[in-house]
């Protein structure tokens, strides 16, 4: 879960000055351009290759496709089961995301806004888990899930995903809830709102920017999860996208189909890339949001 474990904040980050004006020295531009090429080229190559024939992929890796093989995409989606994996990912990640956001925000709010004995302890119990390698838990986790009869099931994956995404969510939202003004909540209490109503009707809407940012992080982390499904989700029918792609590329016995695999890679890449371009302002805001203490 690289992203889940990513730092939420740089310590100092409120932009206070516009960037300096353009510089005559061409070196920075060359360097920046080079890295952009290094970054984008393999991705573009995958997209272009997904329209080529197997022959073209094997013999002329740098060429453009002679004709657009849209059939690759169809094959990947149906014959190679990418469609099914995609759907599985949607179900599991969707379920886990909703549950994570609900439980995580509840915990973060309760810990941030209520004083009671053990508050600190509970906070640390959650947050410390962010620093533990998942590998340590892997073996016992497998047996826990197996004994609960949840191995290879959607609910099993959803619960485990949630359990491993909640700590970061709590960590992130905790500071967010702390910054919210208490006047509005107090007014709501005076109006006779219950604690639950204050949370759902008043505080949650106020925390929307934070929820949005952490939601995106959680989505990316869960969508790209590999180790947990690899161990806990052995049924090929319920493979999630990352698992299915790995199986397609590594497994033996499948009919060789490079163009289909590239199409599968592209299908896996495009939604997140498009979502990122659309939401990138929020993501960057999210990365620096923790700094707004």
């Amino acid at each position: 879960m690289t992203l889940l474990r990513s730092p939420s904040a740089s310590a100092t980050s409120i932009p206070s000055a516009p960037p300096a004006r353009t510089n005559p020295n061409p070196l920075p531009h060359i360097a920046m351009f080079c890295w952009a090429v290094v970054t984008a080229l393999p991705l573009l190559w995958a997209v272009v290759s997904s329209f080529k024939t197997d022959d073209e992929i094997l013999n002329t890796p740098w060429s453009l496709p002679s004709s657009l093989e849209v059939d690759n995409w169809v094959r990947a989606w149906t014959a190679a089961s990418i469609g099914r994996y995609f759907l599985n990912s949607l179900i599991v990640v969707g379920g886990a995301l909703i549950l994570t956001m609900l439980l995580g925000s509840l915990v973060a709010y309760a810990l941030a806004r209520y004083e009671f004995r053990g508050n600190r302890l509970i906070y640390y119990v959650f947050v410390a888990a962010m620093f533990f390698p998942v590998f340590l838990a892997l073996v016992p986790l497998f047996f826990v899930v197996q004994q609960l009869g949840l191995l290879g099931t959607y609910p099993g994956l959803i619960l485990v995903y949630t359990a491993y995404a909640v700590p970061f969510t709590v960590f992130f939202l905790h500071s967010f809830f702390r910054t919210l003004p208490s006047e509005i909540a107090e007014a709501a209490f005076l109006d006779g709102c219950s604690h639950g109503a204050v949370f759902f009707r008043v505080m949650l809407p106020l925390a929307r920017p934070g929820l949005f940012a952490v939601g995106i992080f959680n989505f990316l982390g869960l969508w790209n999860q590999y180790l947990l499904p690899l161990v806990l989700n052995p049924d090929p029918d319920r493979y999630v996208l990352a698992q299915g792609l790995a199986a397609l590329s590594v497994s033996q016995g499948y009919r060789s189909d490079w163009s289909g695999l590239f199409a599968g890679l592209t299908i896996a890449m495009l939604p997140v890339l498009i979502a990122y371009v659309a939401f990138q302002r929020h993501i960057r805001a999210g990365m620096t949001a923790g700094a707004v203490k």
Binding site: D54, L58, N59, F142, G152, L230, V231, P234, D235, P236, D237, Q243, A246, A247, S249, V250, S251, Q252, G253, Y254, R255, S256, D257, W258
Partner: protein, 472 residues
């Protein structure tokens, strides 16, 4: 259940084939519940009278429940055999289940004592057969094996099977499983390509080296291999060693005997492959190619030979150009050895068993008699381009070049088929062998060091009291 089968992330076709064979004589790790409630196969209903037409004493009206692994071969072949069953016993109601996770669905039923009548215990998550045997949960198939074949007059079922099939299903002296498919390993080449260049497949290693030199002169790489998975190049090496040292060599290896890996046959075979690499007969870059990449390069005639099992043809459908005509040959021999040149490494898989507590065990066995009939096996071969484990099932069929060559190799081998068991018994040793062979064919390890190094791993394993040992 066996964690290996249950969890291997990508139950690779190969491991499926391989592990299914020695099935799970391998580590009975997650055995658990199946072991409970072992004793008497009590509630089994008495069958009807045994007659020539009904040698197993099937009660004509007893219902039959068949559970089949629905994997790469589908389950249509099993459904066909069920139709044959109802054709013979019209009063019997047949219940069919095609599953992908046989073990998960069947384990509770074994524990509860209400298993189906036939189980195709195959695929990721299959039940550990050693555990089932230990808990007396499986029926002895001796009477089935001794029953007359359905469509081969004068032959017992036992005699209709390819060599090794009965042995593959025998545990502690009892045959409890029958494997339906048959896999053979060898060295592949394109018949048309070889014909156009005037090359002929060699039978001795000396000829192989001469031909390889000629091939290279023609601007083609003599060999490629699936370098990302060094086990592929291990197969011809170990086959060559087996031909030199015979069954004794194989048994010494499998039984972890001291010095087993220093046997002459093994060292000679390692030396042969080191020479293959040393003389530059391996296509450059092979060492980093995945199985599909290496096989594609071979299909593009960039290399002449490639080692693989008999599934290669179906894996290369769509990649092999028209008229490529791939065929498999037996691994060339170093010289006159204990096994003939025609001997092949072979193993059966797709494991059918009849539970001890099956309500209709006689019907289950009768079903297997129908399934393992020549007619049923022939239909399977036609549909799946895969060799069934029934001898002669493909006789008279027009087979694809690959499958035809596999059948010919099996025919030529006769009873001289062999298989190593250490790979399924001792996975860590298999890894040590793979790693060492990878280094050997990349010229980073000498044949002597190769055998020393593997011997060390085998000795360590033999000494390790935490690992369950097997004997053959």
């Amino acid at each position: 259940m066996n964690p290996e089968s249950q969890l291997r992330p990508y139950p690779t076709r190969r491991t499926l084939l391989r592990t299914a064979v020695t099935a799970a004589v391998a580590v009975p790790a997650l055995a658990g519940c199946v072991t409970s409630s072992s004793d008497s196969p009590s509630a089994v209903s008495e069958g009807a009278e045994k007659t020539a037409d009904n040698p197993l004493g099937v009660k004509a009206d007893a219902p039959l429940e068949v559970v089949v692994f629905k994997g790469g071969y589908g389950d249509d072949y099993a459904v066909q055999a069920e139709k044959a069953y109802t054709g013979k016993y019209p009063q019997a109601k047949v219940d069919h289940k095609g599953l992908q996770k046989v073990g998960e669905a069947m384990q509770p039923r074994f524990v509860a004592g209400t298993p189906p009548d036939v189980v195709d215990n195959t695929g990721a998550g299959r039940l550990d057969i050693a555990t089932l045997v230990g808990a007396s949960q499986v029926n002895d198939l001796a009477d089935l094996l001794d029953a007359p074949s359905l469509d081969q007059p004068g032959k017992k079922v036992r005699d209709t099977l390819l060599p090794g099939v009965v042995e593959d299903g025998t545990f502690a002296g009892r045959t409890v499983a029958l494997n339906f498919t048959y896999t053979v390993w060898g060295v592949w080449y394109s018949k048309s390509f070889f014909a156009s260049r005037g090359w002929t497949f060699p039978t001795s290693w000396a000829e192989m080296l001469t031909l390889s030199a000629e091939i290279r002169k023609a601007g083609v790489a003599p060999w490629t291999y699936q370098g990302k998975y060094p086990e592929y190049i291990n197969d011809p090496l170990l086959s060559m060693a087996a031909k030199a040292g015979g069954t004794d060599l194989i048994k010494a290896v499998d039984n972890l005997q001291p010095g087993a890996w220093k046997q002459e046959g093994l060292v000679q075979a390692a030396t042969a492959f080191a020479e293959l690499a040393g003389r530059g007969f391996l296509m450059s870059g092979s060492e980093a190619l995945s199985h599909t990449e290496a096989q594609a390069a071979w299909c593009q005639r960039k290399a002449a030979f490639i080692p693989c099992g008999s599934w290669l043809e179906s894996e290369q459908k769509g990649v092999a150009p028209a008229g490529f005509d791939m065929v498999m040959g037996a691994v060339p021999a170093l010289g006159p050895g204990k096994l003939p040149v025609s001997a092949v490494q072979a193993a059966s898989s797709e494991s059918f068993l009849v539970p001890a507590k099956a309500k209709n065990a006689a019907g289950g066995k009768e079903y297997l008699r129908l399934l393992f009939s020549k007619g049923s096996a022939t239909a399977f071969a036609k549909a799946n381009s895969t060799l069934p484990s029934v001898a002669g099932a493909t006789d008279g069929l027009t087979l694809s070049s690959g499958l035809g060559s596999v059948r010919d190799a099996v025919t030529a081998a006769g009873t001289d088929t062999f298989t190593y068991r250490f790979r399924t018994w001792y996975a860590p040793l298999a890894k040590a062998v793979d790693d060492a062979t990878g280094e050997l064919v990349n010229k980073r390890l000498s044949p002597a060091d190769w055998s020393t190094r593997i011997q060390k791993a085998a000795d360590a394993l033999a000494k390790d009291s935490t690992i369950t040992k097997y004997e053959r």
